[in-house]
Symmetry: C2
Subunit: 266 residues, 2 copies
DNA sequence: AGCCTCTCTTGATCTGCATCATGGTACTGG
DNA sequence: CCAGTACCATGATGCAGATCAAGAGAGGCT
């Protein structure tokens, strides 16, 4: 049964829509149910969209943000072709972004952790160019883009911040391009681990001990490698005393060696 | 001798600045010399920044755009770390964007043809994250970003267009990521040729016959392959009757076969 | 013209990662 | 609690493209 995660009451009218149309059956129809979180009390506000806003501006932003029930593991947030309406901020959990190639394979283009923004690829064509799927139970805030646009025309700080967010996405994609084009399997994996470590640290979590939210398949897909190679690299790094790997649980034992293994590519 | 390409008069004060600081010695200091081009008469206006503007808005945009003498082949427009001031529109010629890895190698991240915009990666950190270099003699319009920001707060169409431009850059980078991660050498080369062909067609040039502005080295670098491989792929496609290759001069003999070779990946 | 340098082509060999194959381990649903 | 199904690890083998090597054009400078 389909229902709207932004309201945990089953909505009758959804039952009749075409199942494949995520935009109509999907998670982000506006509804009045409130999940009792606000940007002001959210401990991610320092690194998330509100970052650059004073409290009166924040109040305005608050009025347009939609919050809903968490997405379940493997649940789709949007997919390629979904009419573009909102960008999304991760409140908890993790998601992957990916696009499907013409021959049906999947290319993971990014992982999104709490405090990070996704969905901006949909702006240019008014439809999402990629898909986003929850890697684990994940709470997400939807920010309707037309409202955000109007708001940002009036709030220079917000406008600037949005430009910066998109610009950052571009530079990060370029780093990934470089990684894929120039680095060995070991360097790619090490770079990803360091990236996740850094992003954890940014939200006051341990930089040296964490649980990977994604599978080896997703890691391999993201890094342009096969699962087997990912497994081997993990084993190698573990044997070398750089990591302790227990399934998805990672401990970085030798930060410096890992940095070296990454070849400081990023 | 250093001089400002946006004014073909040598500027005294430039002589004293530090040579490595592109932002001060660089090509885009404002000056009053006019190269007698306007967006209104520019035949690229249909595909360039003015795309979404009415004529009164265009007039306003016109007032902030800086035009200068063409860049020579191999001349640098900006490089990594250059304080971010403007984004740029290509008026003629071609440029490559690239970033330098920690070990000094170069990763080409894109080619920019007439009517295309570059430099948006600088917004997030207020400094360019990549470099841009002319592949041949190239004329470029500089659009100071702070002026553009102010203008776009007042002109919703312009703001939207900027968001769209950046979003397009993101989706294009994601396509390149997919290409690098999933496709064979033949597919990558074929995809690039089709991309250039399409972009030529957009500006009313032949889609089947054109001159590549970039070297084999740059192509290989961009596609994550070696020069030798690029050469071999060109030879192979020529032997197969798909292309006629004469150095940088390309003729697409069998569009359909090329599309097939690209595996419709993009 | 003639020299030099840079770019491109083609061949021979090598190698990092893919692919194939197999077994182990950990969730998940009945 | 057990069966079924992901997910993960590790070994054996193959191959696309890198690397090494050598020459051929093409363009720029005196």
């Amino acid at each position: 049964m389909l229902y709207n995660p932004f309201c945990n009451i089953v909505q009758e009218d959804i039952m009749s829509v075409h199942l494949q149309n995520v935009s109509e059956a999907g998670p982000f129809r506006s509804c009045n149910h409130d999940y009792k979180v606000s940007c002001e009390t959210c401990r991610l506000s320092r690194i998330c969209l509100p970052l650059a806003l004073n409290s009166s501006d924040l109040e305005q932003l608050e009025t347009i943000i939609q919050r809903g029930r968490p997405l379940q593991k493997n649940e789709l947030l949007y997919h390629e072709g979904t009419p573009f309406q909102s960008i999304y901020a991760v409140r908890s959990g993790a998601l992957k972004g990916y696009r499907t190639t013409s021959d049906g394979r999947e290319q993971v283009t990014g992982f999104y952790l709490p405090g990070e923004i996704l969905g901006m690829d949909g702006i240019s064509e008014n439809a999402h160019a990629s898909s986003a799927r929850a890697l684990e139970t994940a709470a997400v805030c939807a920010i309707p883009f037309d409202s955000l646009e109007k708001l940002s025309a009036a709030m220079p700080g917000l406008q600037r911040h949005l430009f910066q967010l998109m610009s950052r996405e571009i530079t990060e994609d370029q780093l990934l391009i470089t990684l894929l084009s120039k680095n060995t399997a070991d360097e790619r994996v090490a770079t990803l681990l360091l990236s996740i470590s850094r992003r954890n640290a940014r939200r006051q979590l341990s930089a040296s001990q964490f649980r990977l939210p994604m599978s080896r398949v997703d890691i391999g897909n993201y890094l342009g490698l096969t699962v087997e190679t990912i497994s081997r690299v993990f084993s190698r790094l573990q044997k070398g005393g750089v990591l302790r790997v227990d399934n998805k649980e990672i401990e970085i034992l030798d930060q410096e060696a890992l940095q070296l293994a990454a070849n400081i590519a990023a």
